[in-house]
């Protein structure tokens, strides 16, 4: 540019073809805001300039989608073009001088923002996106001036229900077409389109069709504004009150990396977390809803007795009752152990070690959720997050695994009289299983949620779910992932490993493991596949997303908004 005031790099000698010779062979060397940037050929300008500390704003660009270059927010000044060019679409050229903050660029960004907000409704106070909205971020950074609109804003459909998961507010839409491109390119089911022309354009489904693809929830995540909203999450929480913990989805054996967004001791939503080797940036709608059992029908206290004899018990009382019964049965044919592949590796390590060492069993029956539908993208038919982990752990501890159907036969035959169940999930109809379990003389059940089976337990121990503790899951491909603790479990609720350690102590074993990490360090090395797993190093970083952050969690590890008694006052705001 003639009026550009950036320093030009020394011009390399031109090659016979007329192009300058690369300064760093094999790479493209450009100058960004006066700083030299060496990038791989084909690197996207928007991503590449971040490495030298420049930031180009954008709406429509997404690294996993095709380039649309329609939002015009990423316009920058480059030395080989007289006009401003969209950074997302412009290839880096050797010797190019890029200016991301020149007055021309800033004026262009301001103008783009002004146009985008011209017909935008005054919605922040009722908009779910407020707090994580790019319109808000960029307005404050690049525009910060009053509206010059004279007359009325254009009105469109404010609540167009697109499908079971997504609702669209067409007034808030900036037509970046990220959702359209996602449905076409990633979900491979083009259910969304842009209709109309010019200022009458809007996003919609085809007439009579619905946005019902299993991956439609991702359009809400990639929507840079509050146009596409998740019907499950809508109006349930303000995002700035939520904290996020890096976790793993337990909806199927894919184990998509996610963020758990929580407030107090309740989970509000799952969001996909970037993971190149598993789920890229996506997750399925079924997995998205699999947080619900974390909040609903949870068991809170230990229970003793069955039917009319059932009563609440203290933890020592319950442990004592289990130990009394199991000491007599240990090592006999009549005692069986049922393990659930929903439990984490740490839960299984401690529980199965307890089953082998204290209860003297040589085989373990496998419970877990029944098979469901799968697809050819992320969702698998196996709805248990840790089946591979259970197989590994059992092999590492010299235990054989038996299918669940054999347990039913053994109970019917009367050979199994007592069961120690780690996890309350079963692969067949729970009411049928409950009928079978009714014949048991003694059932000790560690479960997180109420079910027909929990009613049959003689001792019911409330178990924590994965967001209430840290640990690891091994997915269907054998990838082991760490997940972090979001919030502490309520009252007497403990993770399976803690129950196992407490029971072992009641049996007189000198076990002292006080955390999932301790458990992994004790028994992890005995499992060949987990022996080399770097438990501490694999932990996802604590810092999560950009934008608004709640005030840091207190040093005692309690989540923000956590109250010792009752629910946080912020709920429902």
């Amino acid at each position: 540019m003639s009026e550009s005031d950036g320093k030009k790099p020394p011009t390399p000698a031109p090659t016979p073809g007329g192009r300058p010779a690369p300064k760093h062979p094999g790479f493209v060397t450009v100058t960004v805001d006066g700083k030299e940037l060496v990038a791989k050929p084909g690197a996207n300008m928007v991503d590449a300039v971040k490495t030298v500390g420049s930031d180009i704003p954008y709406y429509c660009y997404h690294p996993r989608l095709s380039i649309a270059a329609n939002c015009r927010m990423c316009l920058v000044e480059v030395s080989n073009s007289p006009k401003l060019v969209p950074a997302c679409q412009t290839p880096l050229a050797e010797g190019m001088v890029i200016q991301t903050r020149s007055p021309r660029v800033q004026e262009s960004q301001r103008a783009v923002m002004e146009f985008l907000l011209l017909n935008h409704p005054v919605d922040c106070s009722i908009c779910d996106q407020a707090g994580e909205c790019k319109l808000q971020d960029y307005y404050q950074l690049h525009d910060f001036r009053p509206s010059r609109l004279e007359g009325e804003k254009i009105l469109r459909n404010k609540r167009k229900v697109l499908g079971p998961t997504v609702v669209l507010d067409q007034e808030r839409c900036i037509l970046c077409t990220r959702c359209v491109r996602f449905m076409t390119e990633v979900a491979r089911e083009p259910q969304l389109g842009v209709f109309g022309r010019g200022s009458a354009e809007y996003i919609d489904t085809f007439p009579g069709k619905h946005l019902d693809n299993n991956y439609s929830g991702n359009t809400v995540d990639i929507c840079p504004v509050g146009a596409l909203l998740n019907r499950d999450f809508r109006f349930r929480a303000r995002t700035w009150f939520l904290s996020a913990a890096a976790s793993v989805c337990t909806g199927c054996s894919r184990g998509c990396s996610i963020f758990v967004d929580f407030m107090g001791q309740d989970t509000y939503r799952y969001r996909p977390r970037e993971n190149e080797s598993i789920n890229k940036s996506w997750m399925c709608d079924q997995g998205r809803l699999s947080y619900k059992p974390l909040n609903q029908h949870r068991l809170a206290a230990a229970m003793l007795g069955r039917g009319e004899d059932r009563r609440e018990a203290t933890v020592p009382e319950a442990l004592k009752a289990v130990a009394e019964q199991f000491k007599a049965l240990a090592g006999t044919e009549g005692l069986a152990v049922l393990a659930s592949p929903v439990a984490s590796n740490e839960d299984l390590l401690a529980s199965l070690a307890f089953a082998r060492d204290a209860l003297g069993v040589r085989s373990v029956y496998v419970g877990g959720r029944p098979e469901g539908a799968g697809d050819n993208f992320l969702m698998t038919p196996d709805k248990n997050p840790n089946r591979r982990g259970l197989e590994w752990v059992a092999r590492g501890l010299d235990l054989t695994l038996k299918p669940f159907s054999e347990l039913g036969k053994a109970i019917n035959a009367g050979t199994v009289k007592a069961v120690y169940a780690i996890g309350g999930e079963v692969p067949v109809d729970p009411s049928l299983v409950a009928q079978g379990f009714a014949r048991l003389e003694y059932l000790v059940l560690q479960a997180s949620n109420e079910s027909p089976i929990t009613a049959q337990a003689h001792v019911l121990l409330p178990a924590a779910v994965h967001v209430e503790d840290e640990g690891t899951f091994t997915n269907v491909d054998g990838i082991t992932q760490r997940f972090r603790k979001a919030y502490p479990a309520r009252a007497d609720v403990k993770p399976h490993w803690a129950w196992a350690v407490a029971l072992a102590q009641e049996f007189g074993f000198p076990w002292t493991q006080a955390s999932a990490r301790d458990v992994f360090r004790e028994w992890g090395p005995r499992v060949a596949e987990l022996a080399t797993f770097d438990w501490d190093g694999a932990a996802p970083p604590l810092k999560t997303s950009r934008g608004l952050h709640p005030i840091a969690t207190g040093a005692d590890g309690r989540p923000p908004g956590y109250r010792e008694f009752g629910t946080p006052r912020v709920r429902g705001i």
């Binding site: 907000l117 005054v122 922040c124 407020a130 707090g131 808000q136 307005y139 404050q140 009053p146």
Partner: protein, 412 residues
């Protein structure tokens, strides 16, 4: 209240004569002055070791009013720090508010409108008078001159009325915002201030007549609580306490800020560094402040009271409720705070008791990374043992009065 720490008694005072025969006290007496003592302004405790009536050792113990000022500021946005600054020197809260804002504005590199600068000078000087009147009145009270106290407090009350008209609060003013002021002068306020100043002038004459040449008062004040100039500098004295030693240092003259360079005023300088000089400094500064307020009211220009930049200042309410631009700006400013650029800064203003300094660090978010306040009273209080050790116990009272230690700012 003072009480004997240990009272030595002879063994078995069985018969009536033994009291007469008892030996005189030979051990030093340790007394606690405060923390709840009317002469210990705020809540400070002075552990005093006495040899007869002579102070051998004095140890001021602070912390009873510690509120975690710095840490509190780190978890709120820049503007939300203001109510915390009210509680530093609560006798002149406006000067803390505006001093803090000035430092933040310097870190941003922001020039505030002229009218706001005038109102800042005007309200600061009003609160300087408020502070000095409290100090002078209290000196009179604690040395037995109750009438002088009543006159001073009557004058102070008039200022409080004007301040509450201006800010809505008598004490915790939370006045000003980053970029200017949150409210303009109320209607008819200037006339009321003029009348108030006339009345204060009259009342100050009474106080002056009752105290300045009063034999008893002068005897208690002159030559007591002396500190050498070198010591005063070494301890970091500023304000009237330093100027009483003859050092002409006033931030308003040394590094003029706002519109102080347009004000015509003198900085009184003493020579003896004793209680009487410190008292005289304050009496004179009261007159100078009055002069400045009258000038500022006369020169006060029309115009905006806060900068027009939606990155820093909340948009007008009509825009917030009626336009998306306004509501976004409001949301971001309230939820995230003013985006002060990353950096650090030291900035100071001349508060009633001396140089009120701010060391601020910003990491670019809307909340301070660090807020350190250099409270003038802290340095001065640390010099008290030097001023009082080897002197009489009775001198401690006027000395503690004239240094005008304010618990809120010293203990933060």
């Amino acid at each position: 209240m003072a009480h004997a720490d240990e009272r030595q008694t002879d063994e078995s005072p069985s018969d009536e004569d033994s009291e007469l025969e008892a030996h005189l006290q030979t051990r030093r007496m340790m007394i606690n002055l405060g923390p709840s003592h009317p002469a210990m302004h705020g809540t400070v405790r002075m552990r005093v070791e006495l040899e007869g009536e002579t102070i051998v050792r004095a140890d001021p113990e602070i912390g009873f009013l510690h509120r975690g000022f710095q840490k509190s500021c780190e978890s709120v946005t820049w503007n939300q720090c203001l109510p915390y600054t009210d509680r530093l020197n609560y006798v002149s809260a406006i000067m803390n508010n505006l001093g803090f804002l000035k430092a933040v504005e310097k870190l941003i590199g922001l020039e505030i409108p002229e009218r706001a600068q005038y109102i800042r000078v005007l309200s600061s000087e009003l609160h300087r008078m408020h502070d000095h009147l409290t100090c002078v009145g209290a000196i009179g009270l604690e040395l037995g001159g109750f009438s002088a106290f009543l006159y001073a407090i009557e004058a102070r009350e008039l200022i409080m009325d004007r301040v509450s008209e201006l800010t809505g609060a008598r004490l915790t003013t939370t006045f000003g915002r980053v970029g200017g002021l949150n409210r303009d002068l109320p209607d008819g306020w200037i006339e009321r201030v003029t009348k108030t100043l006339d009345k204060i002038h009259e009342l100050l004459g009474e106080v002056d007549g009752l105290l300045t040449a009063n034999r008893i008062f002068v005897d208690r004040m002159r030559g007591t609580g002396v500190i050498t100039t070198q010591d005063a500098l070494d301890f970091g004295f500023t304000g009237p306490c330093l100027r009483a030693n003859g050092i002409n240092y006033d931030v308003r003259k040394a590094k003029p800020y706002w519109v102080y360079d347009r004000m015509e005023f003198d900085v009184p300088v003493g020579q003896n560094g004793d209680n009487y000089d410190r008292y005289l400094m304050r009496m004179e500064e009261l007159k100078q402040s009055e002069k400045m307020i009258r000038q500022a009211m006369k020169q006060l220009p029309q115009g905006p009271i806060i900068v027009d930049d939606w990155r820093i200042v909340l948009p007008p309410k009509a825009e917030v409720y009626g336009s998306i631009e306004g509501v976004i700006s409001h949301f971001k400013l309230v939820m995230e705070g003013v985006p002060v650029p990353p950096g650090e800064i030291y900035d100071s203003t001349e508060a009633a008791n001396g140089e009120l300094g701010w060391y601020l660090v910003s990491d670019g978010s809307g909340r301070p990374y660090k807020v350190h306040v250099r409270a003038p009273g802290f340095a001065i209080l640390s010099g008290v043992p030097r001023m009082i050790e080897g002197k009489m116990l009775a001198d401690l009272i006027p000395t503690f009065d004239t240094i005008n230690m304010i618990g809120g700012e010293v203990e933060q």
